[in-house]
Amino acid sequence: MSEQIKNFLYLNRRAPYGTIYAWESLEVVLIGAAFDQKVSLAFLDDGVFQIVKGQDTSGVEMKNFSPTYSALGDYDVNQLYVEQESLEERGLTIDDLMHLTWEDEDEDWAEKDSIRVVSRAELASIIEQQDIVFSF
């Protein structure tokens, strides 16, 4: 089993800043990108708040780690699933999220969207297809 490429899913269900989980999940994703596994990220429940644009942490004197999400494309992490129902319950739309992209080497470095909004039912299927699910 150790030689095969596995499907890794990072299940992000928490808001940023209130707890450190969101940030540390991102740290694992970045480290994990070096391991040549097939990686995707799911944002559901309060996890959708992690990638809301316009975060400014100067007033709480914490580090704003949200710009790091923009770097994920450079690490070939470009499968970000965001749950539609979770957005709606929180009064959000995709326009409230950061515009995260990656450049497709196979198509002359065309810029493509990393985020795909999926339904709850689709996300359930995506979870099912994984080999490993990280929860924080």
Binding site: G18, D45, D46, Q55, G59, E89, R90, G91
Partner: protein, 101 residues
Amino acid sequence: MSELHTVNKSPFEKSSFNSCMEHVLEGSAVLLYEDGVYAAIKGTAAEGKVKSAQGVKFYALGPDLSARGVAVERVTDGVEIVDYAGFVDLAAEHDKVVAWV
């Protein structure tokens, strides 16, 4: 006695906001901070609870709203935005603080 209730958890993740709302009396105040500020967003189930609370003043901590990218125009009408100094003032002005941690 007048009470300042504080809520620091997301209303979508934990029941503390709802529990606070079920125990808050007229003439009291509720301060939303940390992930609790998500209860101050328009267009959510929490908005309804905030609007229907009779005679209760609502506050949200500005630095926590900004950290989470919640713009002022998304904040439910009637919720006043304060900073940490304002949080201190609220704690001093009310007879006690009840934390719904």
